[in-house]
Amino acid sequence: MAKSNELPRPTDAELEILTVLWSRGPATVRDVHSTISRRRPAHYTTVLKLMQIMTDKGLVKRDEKQRAHIYSASRPREWTQRQLAGDLLERAFAGSASSLLVGALAARKASAAELAELRKLVGGYEDKP
């Protein structure tokens, strides 16, 4: 537990790499680079360097069994999400931000009771012939 607390919060650039790893699963630096460079120009060496630093920090793990090293995120994304959301500022303005967002789901979460009702509704419908 103490060790997990020591894990530093990822920077924005590191978060981007972590997002790729969470989305694609374990990947080589080349894979990560090709995903990132689809959105914005990025140098392979920059990504490589960043991922080496992240390995040192413990944010990602490196599997050196194969010739091309395979990287994977050391923590699940829920863990990091919680870590990021723990930020006081983030929490203070989350409400203000959510009212500016539009999307398929409401800014507020459904309650447990509502969720149960939802499942019943959808499931019940599925049961119908």
Partner: protein, 774 residues
């Protein structure tokens, strides 16, 4: 800007007034929307969304119009006093000054403004965070999904390019931006849902983009911020949000008829949000249950909650009406009383004018009272309006209750609520009536009290003025005038005396002082002469050569015979310049005129041929001044070695400075000196033992002069003499290095290097060695 000044401004009052009016306006708009939604229940969500948006926009419009009207009205009230009907005036015993009127409507404005600023600050921070979400923790969606999104965008008729990103920060699918929109999908959503489900979600988000909901959302935030204090604004805004989602759901169902898959996708997403579990949970937050019921065509069992909401809205209307009724009167009071303090202040400044202004102010107050009665009527109207609204709303509630049949318990509850509401309404009406009467009475009493107080104050002031008048007639002024005149006379006298004194004193005394001053001057001159004579005696003894001679030769002469200026000229100014013959000639002169002539000739002789008059003299005195300025130590600059060389030969062409073993050495180099030759060097050293540089090598040319030895002056003098005796042109040159008696022997000048070299060789053969190597 100071708050109290600002509060006194018409804008503050008008803002407060508009805000107060907005209380009922907001309630009316909310009620209207409720009616519209009720009427348009069978209509499309698009229609309902538009109706709600229109109501939301009506809020700032109503507020703006009211503000403009209030602003115009407060101006007209401030400028034009109301007409003054006659009124019977009964005096009332004064009971102290009336309390200052508090225009609490004006106070509403700053309070409201701080709220708006705070709210907007929070929204801005939220917007920054949202903008960060489109950059941070995102990665491009797989290209096949990006391509699929393009196809779907064409189907929904979204023209701008849309970017699909996977985000680790977004908990739910989201749209950010309008002109360059991005759709954020939570990580894993693309992989975790079926292709049809993802497509349904994407269509929903594209519908948001198509409908410019992001921009609408921002506008909504702005309006919410302006009317943060009014629940109606929040309710209308919530309706807009809810209908917006319904409308987008409708688009999805139109394009992908499998509503079940879509509903399942929404449920799954909502569930995954629970797994991520980082947003704070709200107990009865979303309207997702209603949406999914709507999607699946299930009957909505939530009529009663809606009825409860209506009851809530009814209560809201009631609150708004009460608040409005209460705020309608204070503005009247504050307006009527506003001119009164200004008038009483004016009265204090002009106490002697008496009763007439009081009568005038009374008339004005009566006018203001009439104005207030007018405002009371307006307030009554507003109450009636509010009651009407309330009745309408109650009817609507009843209607909605009828619709929700089959829920008798809830129905009874709602009915009871309505009964309560009606009771409250009645109570309010009676209370309003009472307060109305009470207010009338109170206002009259206050008015009379104020008038009486003013009257009492004025009579007191009148008494004071009369007292002052009496004092004046008692002749206090006459006395003051007399005193004044006496003072003037005294001043005149003093002036005349002063003038007389001045003329008496003038010449005699000034002359006397002048004589005394002359006497003192003479004595001083004598003293100086004696001092100078003594000084020159000592000075002459301490000097060798020409100076000593000068001292000796001046000694027999009395100071009176040779003026101080001539002594100085001879012994200081031209000490290095004058020849022995000239000195003797000068001392032989008897009159100052002759001496002046001699001096003039002396300088003329030395001017270079073809130059202007006194060129030499000017340069010579400049050198003395320079020496005094730069070489002075314990002795005046002109007396030092460097000063002597400088005055005699002028500024060197080059000065080199060096230091060895704490001995500072300066070597002055002259390219050419008339009579001495070329490449002349003089050396000065400062050992630190004395306070000045001393000459250790006299100016000498390697070519023309040769310095052969240095020693005590006696020995050097005899050496020079013996050398001369053997045919060498040797001179003993005094060098005051470490001891004043030190003297150099120089051999020369020779006309050229060859003859010097010959002389050198001859001297070396005789055992003389050069002091300084070439």
């Amino acid at each position: 800007m100071r708050l109290d000044l600002w509060l006194a401004a018409p804008l503050a009052h008008a803002l407060g007034r508009a805000l107060a009016h907005f209380l009922w306006q907001g309630a009316v708009v909310a009620a209207a929307l409720r009616v519209l939604l009720f009427l348009g229940e069978e209509r499309s969500s698009r229609w309902r969304h538009q109706a709600a948006t229109a109501c939301l926009l009506a809020l700032p419009v109503a507020f703006g119009i009211t503000l403009a009207l209030s602003l115009g009205r407060s101006h007209s009230i401030a400028v034009l006093p109301a007409p003054a009907p006659r009124m019977v005036f009964t005096p009332v015993i004064a009971q102290g000054a009336p309390a200052a009127p508090v225009d609490w409507l004006a106070w509403l404005a700053p309070v409201w403004m701080s709220g708006v600023i705070l709210f907007y600050a929070f929204r801005l921070a939220g917007w920054v965070r949202v903008d960060r979400m489109r950059r941070c923790g995102v990665c491009a969606a797989p290209p096949e999904w990006q391509q699929r999104l393009g196809e779907l965008a064409a189907a929904v008729r979204v023209s701008q390019p849309v970017e699909l990103l996977e985000s680790c920060l977004a908990g739910v699918p989201q749209v950010i931006g309008y002109w360059r929109p991005v759709i954020l999908m939570p990580l894993g959503a693309l992989a975790g849902l079926s292709v049809q489900q993802v497509e349904a979600i994407l269509i929903h988000e594209l519908a948001h983009i198509r409908r410019a909901d992001y921009l609408v959302g921002i506008a909504q935030s702005l309006i919410e911020g302006l009317f943060f204090f009014h629940p109606a604004a929040w309710w209308i805004s919530a309706v807009v949000r809810a209908e917006r989602e319904y409308a987008c759901d409708d688009v999805v169902v139109a394009l992908r008829p499998d509503a079940r898959a879509y509903a399942a996708a929404l449920t799954t997403l909502e569930q995954s949000r629970w797994v991520a579990g980082y947003a704070a949970a709200a107990a009865n937050g979303g309207n997702l249950v209603r949406r999914i019921r709507r999607l699946l065509g299930e009957p909505a069992p939530e009529r009663i909650p809606t009825a409860r909401a209506s009851a809530l809205a009814g209560a809201l209307v009631l609150v708004a009406a009460v608040a409005t009724a209460l705020v309608m009167w204070p503005p009247a009071r504050s307006f009527a009383q506003a001119p009164a303090p200004a008038e009483s202040a004016a009265d204090k400044q002009e106490p002697a004018q008496g009763i007439e202004p009081a009568r005038r102010s009374l008339e004005e107050l009566e006018g203001a009272l009439a104005g207030r009665q007018q405002e009371i009527k307006e307030a009554e109207q507003a109450i009636k309006q509010a009651q009407e609204t309330l009745r309408r709303n109650a009817a609507e509630i009843q209607r909605s209750l009828r619709n929700g049949d089959g829920h008798s318990g809830d129905f009874a509850q709602a009915e009871e609520q309505m009964r309560k509401m009606e009771a409250t309404l009645k109570e309010f009406e009676s209370r309003a009536g009472e307060s109305h009467e009470l207010l009338d009475e109170q206002r009259m009493a206050t008015l009379l009290k104020r008038l009486a107080a003013q009257q009492a104050g004025k009579s007191q002031q009148l008494q004071e003025v009369e007292k002052q008048l009496q004092e004046l007639s008692n002749g206090k002024v006459d006395e003051a005038l007399r005193q004044e005149q006496q003072q003037l006379a005294r001043a005149d006298q003093a002036l005349q005396k002063a003038r007389a004194a001045f003329s008496d004193q003038s010449f005699a005394e000034i002359e006397k002082e002048l004589q005394q001053a002359e006497k003192v001057e003479k004595e001083f001159e004598q003293g100086v002469a004696i001092g100078v004579a003594r000084a020159s005696k000592y000075w002459g003894q301490g000097n060798e050569g020409a100076l000593a001679q000068a001292g000796q030769s001046s000694r027999p002469q009395s100071p009176a015979e040779l003026g101080l200026a001539y002594q100085k000229w001879l012994n200081e100014d031209v000490a290095y310049l004058i020849t022995d013959q000239e000195r003797r000639d000068f001392l032989a002169l008897n009159s100052d005129a002759d001496r002046d002539q001699f001096i003039e000739k002396f300088w003329q002789r030395r001017d270079p041929p073809g130059s202007g008059p006194n060129v030499f003299k000017q340069e010579y005195y400049r050198r003395i001044a320079y020496a005094n300025e730069h070489f002075a130590s314990s002795v005046p600059g002109w007396k030092t070695d460097r000063g002597r060389i400088y005055i005699t030969y002028g500024p060197p062409d080059q000065i080199s400075v060096s230091m060895t073993k704490n001995v500072l050495r300066q070597v002055w180099r002259y390219t050419h000196i008339d009579g001495l030759g070329y490449d002349i060097e003089a050396e000065f050293t400062d050992t630190g033992k004395t306070d000045d540089f001393h000459m250790t090598a006299a100016p000498a040319s390697h070519g023309a002069y040769w310095q052969v030895m240095t020693g005590a002056s006696d020995a050097a003098g005899s050496d020079a003499q013996s050398l001369r005796g053997r045919g060498f042109p040797a001179v003993a040159y005094p060098v005051r290095a470490y001891r004043p008696s030190l003297t150099q022997v120089l051999v020369g000048p020779y006309p050229d290097d060859a003859s010097l070299a010959k002389a050198k060789a001859a001297l070396e053969a005789e055992g003389f060695h050069p002091v300084r190597a070439q």
